[in-house]
């Protein structure tokens, strides 16, 4: 392998250092022979790439189109796009399922079961041990042998199906204090029969939906096992959330460790605290870090799938409400919310808790996973803002710039030394219609950074404190509540505001964890 071949390899891998780049340029400039060899090596690479017989993007394109054509909630039927594969369901509960991800699947349960093993490998018959009995069943419809039971039976029987009811605390409590909470609409089977690689203390089958479990340490060798359409979650004592739909099963572990074993091929991964894993019928089974939650002041994942309200999952109570005038409602898509203009979302009350926290810390982070509908927008169009009008701004993260950079991303921040707010923006042509991760951070030393897809792209000093931030402003997504003339068009997948400056590592982790970490509202 000669030096030119080596440099070409690095160039193709995107690993050419500045010095090597200069070396390559010098090599090419010095010799016609080297230039010809370089050209030929690249031609060989192109020819090799064209050999790919497995290349097929048809599935991913069709999934993307499904997202684009997702129905608009509560619009008249005749206004919905024609989709031959669209499933029309009647009940609000069913529509909720449909929107979260077609046949969304659900969760939780709890099982009692103690296995009397007279077999060596897989056990399907068990005796119910005392430790697996439930002491309390709250907020479920119970279907026994196909018949809904009136009221709540005193005791669950194996194979009872539980459906978490709306407006209730949906919770199973076992005698050993293990608790399993479920989101509305979640369906589970209590103590079902399925093949397990080892004896179990409790069993549930999550048919669709989401569950969060705090599991007391289970007897040695007999874990609590939850089956989903794609995997088994094997739990010995920990806190975790588990969600499942037709496409995937998602496991996030808060404490301890949970094993996730894929049903298709038996592949297994251990998911420790602070990590999550996703398994599907295809693709890799990997663990990924969970997002940073320290200093979180507002957090939205847009998984509601219906209505005009977006819940703040940070627990700070800053829910967003659609407040567009004479405009179409926002469109729920599979995994997000698409804004059509005119219209915007704003907190139902002034975001004073957020404002006061940032005033005190002198730091802030604005994070968004978004997919613009148009690569070029003007204003800057407000993706996320804490501003009333363009002259009354605490911060904003926007698309486009006031100086003719329609495909730039822009941030603005008010400080005591920049009362008219300072701007930090990318170059033009950075914005596209692809799903994009944007983060603006500013620490108390005044270091302001702008990241796009996990990479720092701009930085500058914005001196001063945040003590002069306006109070009584609402956090808004999509426009300024005061003027409504800076509308942004696109889909939101995740928005988070922190009262601290995320580190580069934090940003990298949040980027790597993707926009879909949270499926459930807890």
């Amino acid at each position: 392998m000669n030096r030119l071949e080596e440099l070409v390899q690095k160039s193709l891998d995107g690993e050419l250092s500045r010095a090597e780049e200069q070396e390559l340029d010098a090599l090419l400039a010095s010799s016609a022979e080297a230039r010809q060899e370089h050209q030929q090596l690249l031609e060989v690479e192109v020819a090799l790439r064209n050999l790919d017989e497995q290349f097929d993007v048809s599935d991913s394109v069709m999934e993307h189109l499904e997202l684009l054509a997702a129905p608009i909630r509560d619009e008249p039927e005749q206004d919905l796009p024609q989709r031959p594969d669209r499933i029309l369901l009647e009940s609000p509960l069913d529509r909720w399922f449909l929107r979260i991800a077609v046949p969304i699947a659900a969760t939780a349960g709890m099982v009692l079961a103690f296995l009397l093993f007279n077999q060596e490998d897989f056990q399907t018959t068990r005796q119910v041990p005392k430790t697996a009995a439930t002491s309390k069943v709250e907020g479920f419809e119970i279907v026994r042998q196909g018949t809904p039971q009136s009221g709540t039976p005193n005791a669950l029987l194996p194979k009872d199906q539980l459906v978490a009811q709306p407006g209730a605390q949906n919770r199973l409590t076992y005698e050993d204090k293990t608790q399993v909470q479920m989101t509305e609409g979640t369906k589970v089977i209590y103590e079902p029969e399925f093949k397990s690689p080892q004896p179990t203390s409790k069993r549930l089958e999550l048919l669709a939906g989401s569950m969060r479990a705090e599991v007391t340490k289970q007897p040695e060798g007999t874990p609590f096992v939850v089956k989903t359409p794609h995997a088994l979650a094997i739990v010995r004592g920990t806190t975790f959330t588990l969600s499942s739909n037709a496409r995937e099963t998602r496991l996030a572990v808060t404490e301890g460790q949970v094993d996730l074993q894929r049903s298709r091929d038996g592949a297994k991964v251990s998911v420790p605290a602070g990590m999550f894993a996703v398994t599907t019928d295809r693709g890799d089974l990997k663990t990924r870090p969970m997002r940073s939650s320290s200093g979180l002041l507002a957090y939205y994942t847009f998984q509601e799938g219906q209505g005009e309200r977006v819940h703040d999952l940070s627990g700070k109570g800053l829910d967003l409400q659609w407040t567009g005038k004479n405009a179409k409602s926002p469109q729920w898509t599979n995994g997000g919310l698409r804004l059509v203009q005119p219209g915007y979302l704003a907190t139902t009350k002034p975001a004073n808790s957020l404002i006061d926290a940032c005033r005190k810390s002198g730091e802030v982070t604005i994070e968004a996973w978004v997919q613009p509908s148009d690569a070029t927008q003007t204003g800057p169009a407000r993706i996320v803002s804490l501003s009333e009008t363009s002259s009354k701004v605490n911060f904003l993260l926007g698309h486009g710039s006031s100086d003719k950079l329609p495909s730039a991303y822009t941030s603005r921040l008010r400080t005591s030394k920049a009362p008219n707010d300072e701007e930090l923006k990318t170059s033009d042509k950075v914005a596209s219609t692809k799903l994009t991760h944007l983060v603006f951070t500013r620490d108390k030393e005044g270091n302001a950074l702008l990241y796009v897809n996990g990479k720092k792209v701009e930085s500058r000093k914005i001196a001063g404190s945040l003590s002069n931030w306006h109070r009584n402003l609402k956090l808004a997504l999509g426009d300024d509540p005061g003027n409504e003339d800076r509308g942004w068009k696109g889909t939101y997948r995740l928005v988070a505001i922190y009262g601290r400056a995320l580190t580069a590592k934090d940003v990298s982790v949040n980027f790597a964890s993707g926009p879909d970490q949270e499926m459930a509202r807890w």
Binding site: L12, V44, V46, A47, F55, L65, Q82, R83, K429
Partner: protein
């Protein structure tokens, strides 16, 4: 122009039996699932355009996907009878340019080959002739077959089966670095072999 098909009839029949324009008429009437057939028919041509620009190998799937999503979003602008392949390849060329501009911005340079590629992409017919030339393909296959067995195996796994280098390394029981070195050497050997056969510039 071809006859307008009955969409439901199309759904129950092998869409490969219909012209591209027939399928597009049906898609416009709501048979969106038929767009999959369009993607399957034309993704090879679009891939060749994307390959020619030598983006990061892992980015090409995303770019090809975006080409077809954009084509779908603009499907009403396609004029029946004008040749869908030509139309979608024009979209691909434009998106390739956008990607090149982004690379230039982030890497601070646009090498001579990429500039040449942009010019080549304007000459669509020449490019397609070049890429699909049977002589070159045959010569490439012969050259790959002449490599040491483990090297040709690595080439096939990476380029024919689309496996990442780390997956190739795992399958062959080698390190990622060793596989990359192997591929690098193979490229040099293939260059000499193809040059010897008179099929390289």
């Amino acid at each position: 122009m071809s006859r307008a098909p009955n969409p439901s009839h199309l759904v129950n029949t092998d869409p490969a039996d219909f012209s591209t324009d027939d399928v597009i008429v049906a898609i416009r009437k709501g048979e969106i699932e038929l767009y999959r057939q369009i993607v399957v028919r034309y993704q090879g041509d679009v891939l060749k355009i994307v390959n020619a620009m030598l983006l990061d190998y892992s980015a090409r799937e995303d770019v090809v996907q975006q080409v077809f999503v954009r084509a779908f979003q603009r499907l009403e602008q396609y004029e029946l009878g004008r040749g869908f392949g030509k139309w979608v390849k024009a979209i691909a060329r434009n998106m390739v340019r956008e990607e090149l501009r982004k690379q230039y911005r982030y890497k601070g340079r646009l090498d001579a080959y990429a500039q040449q590629t942009i010019e080549d992409l304007e000459k669509e017919d020449e490019l397609v002739d070049w890429e699909s030339g049977k002589e070159r393909s045959r010569a490439l296959e012969e050259c790959i077959a002449s490599l040491e067995q483990h090297t040709s195996q690595a080439i096939k796994m990476h380029y024919v089966e689309g496996k990442r280098t780390d997956q190739v390394a795992a399958d062959l029981g080698r390190t990622g670095g060793a596989v990359r070195t192997m591929l690098c050497r193979a490229r040099g050997q293939l260059r000499k072999c193809l040059e010897g056969k008179g099929v390289l510039a």
